[in-house]
Assembly symmetry: D3
Homo-oligomer: 235 residues x 6
């Protein structure tokens, strides 16, 4: 699938995307059955950002950001650029000039399974970006990749048009066809967590709220009063 | 030692714990003979926090935070929850609901050799937490672990009731039986460092302040005036 | 080259050093032909710093910071201390007392391919430091190393007197003999990037600005309209 | 897609699978446009094995090998078991009893993005297995996963029925629909490499055989006679 | 606990130690409730070795193997040397001369959470050694450590006299006081696995042998016939 | 220094190179003052090889092996190819066709701070190669690098013509100008180790042979008889 560039992508409904942004990465991940998290490899480079958007994808050779230039052209307002490589690379694929270009396209943010640079400027502008590294190391523009094909980014498959949700907890991807259902489940989960907080405020513990206590004994937990003196006196 | 939960733990004296918190992780580590540091693996998720408390421990299966719910119930005001796993896991074991629960128990902080999530909220609340990763990836509640047994957390043994000290430099554990002695040594070290700063201010160098200069020659240091031209001209 | 300490180093011209500081790490790296970047291994411990200075080097045994004390004595105002080890070490080689010593010598910053500690204080003072880790773990002063010899720091060779440039993107080293030329190239690059931003503002895309579009077809890019339905319906 | 188990999978033609096995991982990877390699993360645990088979997939929770037991039941002769986890885990998911079970099902091999154990026995039997680690650490059987759903294994998407090729260079996955075309391309590549070896034997160099020489000058390579004395004499 | 050297250690009964060696690391790990595994960090440097012995411990500074020389003196026939460091180090702490010394003491093997060297000789002699790395990098003898104190080695606590079991799957530690019980459990497990193999040979599957099938439905597994066409045709 | 290719290199005397090969990597590393080791990052891909040769260097972009083709042309019999990249890459830069080419040039071996492939063939032929990874992932030939310029390979500077020594312990580089002196020191060290073995055989311990015993007390080692009961009985 190298050397292919697609112009149009299908997108989820805008209100679904906005709803997923409000729910945040961790809640969305739970809401779709604990799937889709890109895990700790991608870090929030600009803390405090919380966005969702339709994935426009770029697949690049390591150390080569040529395809980003084409992919950004194909972003529509609200889209999120998702960058993957054919083998691991933590070079600085993205910086302030490309951020300017994304901003002019109305892009909502950028997710890279590579490094980024010019981070002082990106943070100054509150430009939302997630990446695996910060690196001054630059890239070339020599090897053809692809734009708007399915990619594996930080261990998750991203199909163009999937909804990408990013915040300080990282990035989660939601298949476009499931986005509305996931939003409904996310909203239910938010409500459930609000109820949990109310019961916590009323003095209950989470073992009771979540009905986890009885299973402790069923599974054979040995409960002891203590305290236990685990160490003999040190000589 | 799986499947055991202990209710009571012995604790160090409150003023000793508070003294260790004031001294901070690096000083405490030096004061107990350069031991007890959990090293760079655990990062301060909420910068600026500086706490100490008695360890309430939870030992969990990877990707399974069930035991945290039981352990938090057993925290007393001022305690620190310490979470270890039976094999490495950077999933998000801890988030804002559990932080709420810890806060209601009066807990001083949480140290996890796992990932955490909801970090935007944790930072907003200045909730003190140290972890090996930030991850949206959630956990299950299926496998029994243990509460208040000795654990290995980030390469250090933590016995329930040991004093755990955390700040922006990371986390250090002090065996309960040694806590008072370590505090005395830490206070002596603080005084010594203050004296060093005064001598630095007076223009001395650290080789003289620390009596390290004579040994340089004894060990055979070759001192040269320089400058040396290390490279031939590049062609 | 162990056990050698050199007093004097040659330095680049002050205005060249200042110019390189203004250009920043990423631009300088590009300006010297995409070389010299220490990559993502070194992180900015005190965000927002942007400095350049002549390298005063220390080569240490792992877990042993003895040579730092001698190297700092040999710093002149504006110099940057560069610390390497003979095998990898992420212990806390540097903290607030040594930072005080560097400050009294007029040093511009510190770059360590090791850990640092007392980071709360370093950040409070806006003391510029780059390191591979934050660690409370202390060091000994037992094994002789060297001062002001060439070292490999984070994969880059640093000769004493080379210009070291650090900012939020990391650290780049410029050989002293090339510093003036690199500055000229960096200033040209800044001008070129300003021109790019103007053309972006005028609505052009980077493929056109950088003349990258024609090569896409030459290399055989298959351009498709889309959208493509990459997945069959999930059962 | 958690909690779903599929019985039947579609398979590529047996002679195509056998042809891909003969071509080997590196050649197959090149033949499909340099895609599909699981990279260096997966190592050959039993050196010398070279197999291909239709993927039967298991998606597991970290530290939990329950789904392997179900997946192996669904293997047909010649199939390869592919194991992925929902978050990283290097525990020993697979050992000699399960190898016995796979062998009785006629399985061709096992690929795990986890650890394995009983490796002395696996090697004794020449049982083909690729894994990310060797670990004595065992697993539980508590959390439901899935069988024969698409998974991401070592950074590559594997759809049930895709052809998995493993040898001492690692593992490559070929989408089932492309398998016959990839085999044809692989055979062409083998022929081309044989021709290269003949020309090498006749004394030619690879720059000429691959027509890479002219581009060196076009790109501006500066060719120098040398030798160059890169270092001044060490003092 | 730095700077302390203990001469005598208590040992488990020789036949218990021999029984644990026969059972092997993975079985022993399971037999003591899935604890004690040092995980994949330690690799078998001399494949095919399978030993157990009483731990004689050395705690060293990084890059400093001084304490090994003292610890080996204190080994009795059949003992295993266990080496830990105060911060991570992959230098070559151990090589052929020390192996010769261990052999003359009658030692059964060596486990190091550091690097080793002279591995060609170690393998020639079938000298049993487990380590985290192979490295030509040598060490100094400058910093005092300890001998025969409890250490953390590859994430497990080892008390002098504990039984250390190593084979191609890695290393497992058994607390001395539990060794006889663990051996009994290990032998029971071996018998159980033999029974499993017999039932496998008779054509049963592991889900039935282990009574895991019914729980699949209880937990809500959706079983489908398939095959499922997961991908639309690639354009 | 990108885009430069040098034809001639200066070499050390053949008997010096052969002597260094006989001494082996660990001894040579010690003999030059414990410097030059590439550490555990590079592994011996073909166990049992022990070679030395003059370095012919190639500096490549990540994922791009173009420069190897030019560098191999410039190898003379007995030379060792040393491959570095401008940013980290574990792709398979080298395989059986290039090994054939190196063999026809009379090359002694290949050292790559990248991945390799076709390892089954390389091992069959006993072709000496050291690399950081095994990977089926291929490379492109698009970006100009350099040949026979100084490079940093696995953390060590290699100047063309330096002597590279590789065996099962890894790779060590010796500056050409120091090679004869290092050989003399290596031979002295071999003699010293032979004497140590003789004294070991006579029953002495290494603390006495190396005169390390007295310093133990000077440094304050507390020696205790033991055994010590480090743990209270487990409840």
């Amino acid at each position: 699938m190298m050397g292919m560039a697609v112009r149009q992508i299908a997108r989820a409904a805008p209100d679904v995307i906005q709803g997923l942004a409000r729910a945040g990465a961790a809640t969305v991940h739970e809401a779709q059955g604990r799937t889709g998290s890109m895990g700790p490899r991608l870090q929030a480079i600009t803390p405090g950002a919380q966005v969702a958007g339709s994935a426009v994808t770029a697949l690049c050779a390591p150390g080569d950001n040529w395809m980003l230039h084409l992919a950004i052209e194909r972003m529509a307002p609200g889209d999120v650029l998702v960058v993957a490589t054919t083998s691991p690379s933590d070079d600085g694929f993205f910086g302030d000039v490309l951020a300017e270009f994304v901003a002019r396209r109305g892009g909502a943010g950028v997710v890279l399974d590579t490094g980024v640079r010019d981070v002082a400027i990106l943070r100054d502008r509150n430009f939302p970006v997630w990446a695996r590294a910060i690196s001054a190391q630059g890239t070339v523009k020599e090897t053809l990749g692809s734009v708007n094909v399915p990619v594996i980014c930080a261990g998750q498959r991203v199909v163009p048009g999937d909804v990408v949700v990013g915040d300080d907890d990282g990035v989660v991807v939601v298949p476009r066809a499931r986005a509305a259902d996931v939003l409904a489940a996310a909203e239910a989960r938010v409500a459930k967590e609000d109820a949990m907080r109310a019961r916590l405020a009323a003095g209950e513990g989470t073992l009771d709220i979540l009905n986890l206590r009885a299973r402790l004994a069923e599974r054979g937990l040995r409960d002891m009063e203590g305290p236990i003196d685990w160490d003999a006196p040190t000589p």
